[in-house]
Symmetry: D2
Subunit: 258 residues, 4 copies
């Protein structure tokens, strides 16, 4: 599927502030960027590899106090859309070292708290169907309510409160999967069908030797998302970071079939 | 029902340490202490009212380094054993002021995190049946595993981990009930059938204008427990507190039909 | 000192919602209400005792969807303004039972986490001077920053973040004092000098057999505050509670010398 | 400096359990393993890369129920022992992508909570002296008390409690450094002078383009430690992990100058 992405961001960056951006669709074997254009007038850019070597972070130094960004891209997504049930779990001791990272608990995903729950609720289910059942459980048990979570909300809070946004849904999937010894990572993405239009977040789980997109909010199919960056959880994949608060003037994200 | 309680405690209290004990069955309208004897050789005792005016705390000053306590009592329990389903919820605005205290979140029971879960899972159930459903849910969802919780474990942790002991079961009931605007308090008790024999903890919920015992571990019926003290959660009802660590030498608790 | 209090609150209470208010200056031996007037057109009021028997909660049932409250009062504060250093600590075993409640950790004040810090930093200081040192330490170490804390922020978070508002300053004082075996409670108050004008919160500590106001924000002297209600922490003393969200239309609080 | 390491571990691994070990001194430019011998009778070993590509994890499948491991190695440590004050901070935007990982908060190191504290306490200090001041502050403010922390203790808890073991000291250094935009990682190590002899943990901070060992417990100098594995915090570097509990029969760790 071809996806057209258009982003506009206007921010006040007071004084000498630098920003670190992660806004470009990553280039991966299942995600071909057919064309892209990044415009950031008056800015000096430096690039560095993203988490897990996926995508790039862009350091921005501005000569003007206002950062005006336009990013447009067309990406072709050839990500496998097969049901998760088609894939097998990889035994823990056969996981590549760099994948084992994503078995660990993290800032927002204290997966070490959930083994008993996961064993009881999903213990009988084999293979990728286990992850499918987790995704469906999260979707059924949670209510999508903007404004109920904040930057300190962890998956333990979310598991109790049963409310949140895409960030919290993705954390839930990551925590449950890791608690069952299934590697899971958090992805910042552009997704078709996200309402209201904005940056979106999903989980990826490692099944059958590859990463598979899992969107427990039900908003996007795997081939409808373009991954920007990945990490252990939301703390790794901010689309913009600044050392001091930046003033949002305007921001729009549009994602549609190309 | 008549209950026979026998407690023996041997502790090293180094130096000038004082201990505060809450070990006596409280005298209440549904709990008559027919006979009791407290023996604490070499100790000077001072008494003060327990939380919510129920029961007494005993301050112990020792002239010897070793505290050797024996407590024996026969209590007649006339507590209502009717099913919770028989009782109505009291509307929040008709609750006595001193009962409203037990609607609040507390150290270990952050009930403010659970309204969405409680509304979804138990929202359709009316009256005392709502509490019965909560009790059954806790019993079904949790596994009794000694050693999995400690003095910093809160109900948010327990809700995720789904493991714990009587303390954690009682916290769960308190948190769920309060999240549904039903007053709930934590009780230290002597209970028949507790395995292994020890001090026990249950919840009490306020239904139909009175407090009702709820034991989600399933170990005790309401008329099989003698309440020692009550509070918001486990932090209020320790059976022994000392400013410095006391050395346990031996402790035994026996509770049986009289 | 005489204090003039004027409050205006306009809220949308949709449908059958009831509100529970705690807005009146409490009547206590050191706080005489010389005159007061509460106006709530179209409302039926029911009163119940506040936490610790101090002040009153008012249940409001509205016949109209809009709650329009005016409260005006003149209170004479004869609270002891002596330095905390003048008072002695009460040994723990001489505390009245109902005061021991305020030694306990609570939802937002996990005082059980701080004994080692408190012993190290304040262990050498005797009597009320210990509390004065805690108050000064909180004032010195924290920065008053609106918007940095929310309804889930506990004193452990605040101790790390070192930022917050009056609520968080009061929590810090309560946690440190309790960790040193000094009873401390949280108070909702009207205070002269609060900027911007609003409901205010302070701590009260129990020294020399009485409760003493401690305002670590430095905004108010003890005889400049009229206590509304008290509790273990912020979860006990909301000035308004409703089961469903109420829509704030307008609210103003004015407190000045009478 | 040359270090002689001798480890003996005896564990019961019931049934088909596999273990993942991280016990070998890593081979790095500043850590040359002159000789080593790993003995694990009856075991099949598989190796995979450690976190950050440093060191190796060893998967162990046993044909016998008892795992009997002996590991002996001589390592030459040429790690720079210069004072931290000699090194400059690397500006955030000049950090390599794979180092940026160690700026993030993690399961046990919620560094995002500490910027205000760090700015106030250490904000004026430049370069590596800032880290030295953090190390000295942690050493001064904390008390080494075995048994006060457990597998759920985070740095927020530790910051309040001011007690812990090497794990907690290392977490504190990591959290404070990251809050000041200095990359910091957690290291499992063998250290000379560790009392009682055991696996040890230290922090590494990224200064002047390289990682520097920081031991806030004061037990080891940088050239007295052999790094086994690194990670974001303690959750990444367990010396042994098993899916089910393994029974410890005996374990000894000896580290001495070679």
């Amino acid at each position: 599927m071809k996806i057209q992405i258009d982003v506009a961001m206007e921010y006040d960056l007071s004084g000498d502030m630098r920003a670190c951006l992660a806004v470009e669709a990553a280039k991966t074997p299942v995600q071909t960027v057919l064309s892209e254009e990044l415009s950031l007038p008056g800015a000096t850019l430096t690039r560095t590899a993203g988490e897990a070597g996926l995508g790039q972070r862009i350091w921005v130094a501005m000569s003007a106090p206002r950062m005006s960004l336009r990013y447009s891209a067309t990406a072709e997504i050839t990500r496998d859309n097969s049901p998760l049930e088609n894939f097998a779990l990889t035994p823990r001791h056969e996981l590549p070292g760099e994948v084992m990272t994503f078995l660990r608990p993290s800032r927002y995903c204290q997966s070490d708290m959930f083994p008993a729950f996961v064993a009881r609720r999903f213990g009988e289910i084999e293979g990728g169907a286990k992850v499918a059942a987790m995704r469906d459980w999260v979707r059924e048990e949670m209510t999508y309510v903007p404004g109920t979570s904040n930057a300190t909300t962890t998956v333990i809070d979310t598991f109790a409160a049963r409310e949140g946004v895409c960030r919290d849904y993705a954390h839930m999937v990551c925590a449950l999967a890791r608690a069952a010894d299934i590697p899971a990572r958090y992805c910042s993405v552009y997704g078709i069908g996200v309402e209201p239009p904005d940056f979106h977040a999903v989980a990826q789980v490692y099944l059958g030797g590859a990463w598979h997109v899992v969107d427990a909010t039900g908003m996007c199919e795997p081939d409808q998302v373009a991954v920007i960056s990945v990490g252990r959880d939301a703390c790794d994949v901010a689309f913009m970071e600044t050392s001091d608060p930046a003033g949002l003037i305007e921001q729009s994200v549009s994602v549609r079939p190309a």
